[in-house]
């Protein structure tokens, strides 16, 4: 892709990035940070490409290290974010369970 198209996409992505988080409450700051953290683990794609084109052992070793680190970022990031958000769901579930109990009465 040519430079101008990439620049266009980059600039638009900046505005989308500003827009999607501009009104979030402080309650969700931590999960949001963690979720964004997981997303940049997508550097895994880059690491895979570099590793797939490596021909010297040293280059391959460094590239594989990048793959391991990127995977840790990506997988760990999404899992830990899910853990945090599980808590929010847990509360809702007990609320609805309480409601069911009331309904049953």
């Amino acid at each position: 892709m040519d430079g101008i198209s990439l620049l266009t996409i980059t600039v638009l992505a900046v505005f989308v990035g500003f827009e999607v988080v501009s009104k979030v409450s402080s309650t969700l700051h931590t999960p949001l940070m963690s979720g964004a953290n997981a997303i940049h683990g997508i550097i895994l794609v880059g690491a895979i490409i570099v590793a797939g084109q490596a021909h010297e052992p040293l280059v391959l070793a460094v590239a594989l290290l990048a793959v391991v680190l990127a995977t840790a970022n990506l997988v760990g990031g999404f899992v830990v974010t899910d853990r945090m958000l599980e808590m929010f769901r847990g509360r809702k579930r007990t609320e609805s369970a309480d409601k069911q109990k009331e309904d049953a009465r």
Binding site: I9, F18, V20, P31, I39, H40, L69, A70, G76
Partner: protein, 457 residues
């Protein structure tokens, strides 16, 4: 041979990018947050599958093995980590992401002959390395492997300036020569800069730095996307960079700080004023039974939970105590400071885990005017977020941070492990006030004793 045509590749990358945007959007509201995160993970899976199908790759067994290693290491840690230690885990994951971006750029240098391409390589190398080393230091601080106080030494600004100057020189060298050795040197300079950047940041400001480094890693990933000509990396990295910047500012605003103030405040010196003054003034300590009487015969109690509560895993006991008091007709609320715990929103997560009803969790703006109607403010394992020094002592490290106005309550009870100062390393004058009572001990044990005594009233 590849299975996917360039058009399909581009379309699927677009789908993955849309998933990431929807993920961030979903994380805006508690109702959609969990699905949002899953949508993001789905996007990541699409992207990884696409790269295997669209690029001619050698060493595939090795790559799959490396992915397996990364997953096997990270997933169980993320599953099992205690919720209290989550901030440092996020820092760690952020750091390794930055490190991966820097390594990718280092290897791609050999394939980039274009000057602008090399500029992107230099940017990724430097920013990725800063993020890696900076995150490592924040990890060490949060894990309390090192002091949580700002670390400053004379001449730090000069050293920092020299390192950055050297980095600019090395960067220019890499752009013109494409030398791998210089690139490695640049990466090392980036590591040093990352350490120097985070060392002077102290105490409660550390989470904001994690968010900032998160944005840094995003930018490094975006730049590596430019190097590789991969649109998805550009979009995802830029999204994180931009949203991370906004988030960092929002967090800083919630604490009444400016980002520049946090990063450079300690450079100016004097910001640790008051931190060394450990006084021998008398305090009033009391027994669990006395505290139970105080709470049990109050009309309105406001509980201020802090990191000490979380660390002692006392959130469930706190929830039980609130329930027991409610049964006696006491009006109980939890006052949640935006940075209670270690990160914004951290305490909400911990109390939600303990099934404290959402309506009892009051945000600072909502509850601050109500402290004057409270009979007792029960501060459990919190310190800095109720420290009046934030309002009265200019030059204190937390000066300007909005605090919970606990001192306006008729009685203040601190449950504390010891007289040790809080994360910011400063004394709390409130503890020496006449209306204040202290109950020493582990937060959970103290709460259990108080709970037992309340039930026996």
């Amino acid at each position: 041979m590849t299975l996917l045509s360039p058009v399909w590749t581009a379309l699927l990358y677009l789908a993955a990018a849309v998933c990431f945007i929807l993920a961030l959007k979903g994380l805006n509201s508690p109702r959609t947050a969990r699905q949002g995160n899953l949508v993001g993970a789905f996007g990541a899976v699409i992207a990884v599958v696409v790269v295997f199908l669209s690029v001619r790759l050698d060493n595939i067994p090795w790559i799959v093995g490396a992915i397996a290693v990364g997953s096997v290491v990270a997933a169980p840690v993320a599953r099992r980590v205690k919720m209290t230690q989550m901030p440092q885990l996020v820092a760690l994951f952020n750091g390794v992401g930055g490190g991966a971006a820097a390594l990718v750029a280092l290897l791609e240098l050999a394939h980039s002959s274009d000057g602008w391409m090399r500029v992107a390589v230099v940017f990724t190398l430097l920013v990725g390395a800063v993020s890696f080393a900076g995150s490592a230091i924040t990890f060490a601080k949060l894990q309390e492997l090192m002091t949580t106080r700002p670390v400053v030494f004379p001449g730090l600004p000069v050293v920092m300036a020299l390192v950055l100057l050297a980095a600019v020189g090395a960067g220019a060298g890499v752009v013109f020569s494409g030398s791998q050795a210089l690139a490695v040197g640049l990466m090392l300079l980036g590591l040093v800069a990352g350490v120097l950047l985070v060392l002077p940041v102290g105490g409660a400001d550390v989470p904001i730095v994690i968010s900032l480094l998160n944005a840094f890693t995003g930018l490094a990933v975006a730049a590596s996307g430019l190097v590789l000509g991969n649109v998805l990396l550009v979009v995802a990295g830029t999204l994180v960079g931009a949203s991370g910047t906004i988030l960092t500012r929002a967090m800083a605003a919630a604490m009444g700080r400016s980002v520049a103030g946090i990063l450079f405040g300690a450079f100016k010196g004097g910001s640790t004023a008051g931190s060394t003054a450990v006084s021998e003034r008398p305090v009033r300590s009391s027994s669990a039974e006395d505290v139970a009487v105080l709470l049990g015969y109050a009309q309105r109690v406001i509980i201020v939970p802090g990191y000490g509560l979380a660390v002692a895993q006392g959130q469930h006991t706190a929830a039980e105590l609130a329930e027991a008091l409610e049964e006696r007709g006491v009006d109980v609320d939890f006052a949640i400071h935006p940075v209670a715990g270690r990160m914004p929103g951290h305490m909400n997560v911990l109390l939600a885990e303990a099934n404290v009803p959402y309506e009892s969790l009051k945000e600072m703006g909502e509850i601050n005017s109500e402290f004057k109607t409270a009979d007792v403010a029960l501060v459990v394992g919190a310190n800095d977020v109720v420290n009046p020094a934030a309002k009265t002592t200019a030059g204190s490290p937390i000066y300007g941070m909005p605090i919970l106005e606990v001192s306006q309550a008729r009685q203040v009870v601190f449950l504390k492990r010891s007289m040790r100062p809080g994360f910011a390393g400063i004394e709390n004058d409130l503890m020496y006030e006449p209306q204040t009572t202290l109950l020493f001990g582990d937060a959970k044990e103290s709460l259990t004793k108080v709970l037992g005594a309340v039930k026996g009233l």
